[in-house]
Symmetry: C2
């Protein structure tokens, strides 16, 4: 039986780990059946198909995987952005009502309908910039019932075919109203929220923000321990401002990923490498907060796999555009173009526990992008105009309508 | 007689220097007749009009002014971008055929039609991101006849109503084939090219690249002197890599602007301030080349006016998006949101010798943007998605059709 669709005459960037480097098949073709890739190979060997699309020699890549976002929230913090640009300190901004607290109020007050509509608008922008799989964290309610509600809203948004959604429960921080009974709050997370999320299958993993002002290393160990007991993989926001030793802990726990890493010791790097934990680079937030650049050369030398994500959130990176993050990664972070591509495809999928995600190879979902260019370097190089570089996006072998200007 | 058009119920960011700060008129309106602003004031006082547009309380700003681009060229240098990301040095890239030389060949080989078509595609992207006036430099041919041709192609593109074009003759560097008779080349520039450009009114100013590997300070003095004699204002690329003292020279020559300024002395800053030379910040190129940040605090303290531009060019910043440059300016450069706005409106217009440009006030061309938001900080804050933040763009009082996805 013929495949449903063959995309031919393409420069296929497979990101297939069994091929060299980015796994480019220069004059290539892809055969798709029932939403799944059946075959990738030389154009000359392509099978017949019900429908054939000629890519005109253009670049075809896996759909992009954004493996770290906080895309569900209400309100914005443009005012806080202006204060920071005017040189106000973190404490001054907090005193003026800024910080995560400024997102908690509007998010808690918003209806489910509003939250889903806001999220869908962001998903449209992400899809128009090539994101076909997006991780979305809870974390802007911080009550047990409210975090469950956020995860249910994420699930509702995920009923649309594209982009695909990977939900994460995030232990973001202790909310202001629970500062007096911090340990009781943590027990609620451990004994109520995490088991409920696991039972209801509302998240694919549990994430935690371990840093000065968020959770301590001991609390992180306790909360992620509960996640492991509940059968959920874990990951963490680590060393964005201060290294509390969480990289080592995440390595011990065989976490999916350690994210941020502006601050990390050589020992932490080694342990991430041995444990196969993906380092998620978030260059937009790093630039916006004027933080030091993570030790990319050391991570590379140690063999740590690096992913790149948008960190889409209202505080430090209000951006849906992965290609722009690739530009920041290849310029400000000093990553190579190959690392940038793997960072938003195969390595990002690994950070989400999707072992064959972010690749174009047989038996993988047919999520792919036909670009308007032929060189992979063009995508980060022509920064800021991703949508104009995209010819079409397919999710599960179906071409997506682009609703976005 | 009534105005043709009134835009009412708007938060009007006038950038009018006679008003405080950004000159916000909170519940404002704008009256337009024959493409020119007739009146700006409180919505309650608005005149009647043939046509009234209700902005729904949204932000209305001057159209953006991109005061530094190299938007006319053929070919691209994605390959060079990849080499730099892989850690190749400037010399290694040059040895592999990179650098400006890699743009000279394709540009010289391209037909007028191709050059204009490539330029128009870039103008479409810029307009979709809010640019209503764009400066465009020659500089990728470097022969007398070829530079004249580039300026004629720019003029051809400028026959479209939007964006408005301001052409600049750029003495970019001595082309490889003239290295042996460098002084003869400079005499050609002085005695043939510049007078011809002035006679044919092909450029509004003369720019020069004064840096290690480009023109020396003495050559710069000689070439800009010829421009002054020909009646053309001058400006310069200054201190991107090395401070050769060109800021002081530009101050002496009462230049329109001094651009880049990663390297500048305190004395240079003082002189720019006293001479009223605009400092043009190019943060995209700075990030891409991993250069140090210019001394923004010192420029601010000295009272130097700062503009922000895209530096759109194939080597160090292939980007048409001014709002993204505003994000880089407010984060990486530490500029305020107010400085970012003035930098892409009033101060950018001043850098182009357009004294009332980049403002919304009576007797100024009605070039303006109706944004999809109400807070000026939102424009840099929601970085990377400028087109989705724009409701409509007017040039000369006429709403532009947006051809770009």
């Amino acid at each position: 039986m013929n495949p449903d669709l063959v995309i031919r005459n393409a420069r296929v960037l497979t990101c297939d780990p069994s091929r060299f480097g980015l796994g480019m098949v220069d004059r290539g073709a892809i055969a798709i059946r029932a939403g799944v890739i059946e075959w990738v190979g030389p154009d000359a060997d392509r099978p017949g198909a019900t429908r054939v699309v000629d890519a005109g020699g253009r670049l075809v890549t896996p759909g992009l995987v954004d493996c770290h976002t906080h895309a569900i929230f209400a309100g914005d913090r443009a005012n806080e952005f202006a204060m920071r640009a005017a040189g106000k300190t973190y404490l001054e901004i907090a005193a003026a009502g800024g910080g995560i607290g400024a997102t908690l109020g509007p998010t808690r007050a918003a209806t489910d309908e509003t939250l889903v509509a806001l999220l869908l608008a962001r998903l449209d922008l992400a899809l128009a910039a090539g994101t076909t799989t997006m991780e979305i964290k809870s974390g802007y309610d911080l009550t047990v019932a409210g975090e469950l509600r956020l995860l249910r809203c994420i699930a509702a948004a995920g009923r649309r075919p594209a982009p695909r959604i990977v939900p994460t429960l995030l232990a973001h921080l202790v909310p202001p109203e629970r500062k007096a009974d911090r340990s009781a709050y943590i027990i609620e997370l451990r004994d109520q929220l995490i088991p409920q999320v696991a039972t209801d299958k509302l998240a694919a993993s549990v994430d935690i923000y371990c840093d000065e002002g968020a959770f301590t290393l001991a609390e992180t160990r306790s909360i992620l321990g509960a996640a492991k007991i509940a059968g959920l993989p874990v990951r963490g926001h680590v060393g964005q401002f201060t290294d509390l030793g969480a990289a080592e802990l995440l390595a011990d726990l065989a976490a999916l990923s350690a994210d941020h890493l502006e601050q990390i010791t050589d020992r932490g790097i080694e342990q991430l490498a041995s444990a196969g934990v993906v380092a998620v680079m978030l260059p937009g937030a790093c630039v916006q907060l004027r933080l030091p650049v993570p030790p990319v050369e050391k991570l590379r030398a140690a063999g740590v796999l690096m992913a790149i994500a948008s960190d889409l959130n209202p505080g430090s990176s209000y951006c849906e555009q992965l290609p722009l993050q690739m530009w920041l990664a290849t310029t400000h972070y000093g990553m190579t173009v190959e690392e940038a591509w793997l960072g938003v495809t195969r390595h990002a999928a690994k950070a989400l526990g999707l072992p064959t995600g972010g690749t174009l190879q047989a038996d993988v979902q047919a999520d792919l992008i036909v670009w308007a260019c032929d060189d992979p370097a063009t995508v980060p190089y022509r920064y800021g105009a991703a949508s104009s570089l995209i010819e079409s996006v397919y999710v599960g072998g179906v071409r997506c309508g682009m609703a976005v200007s």
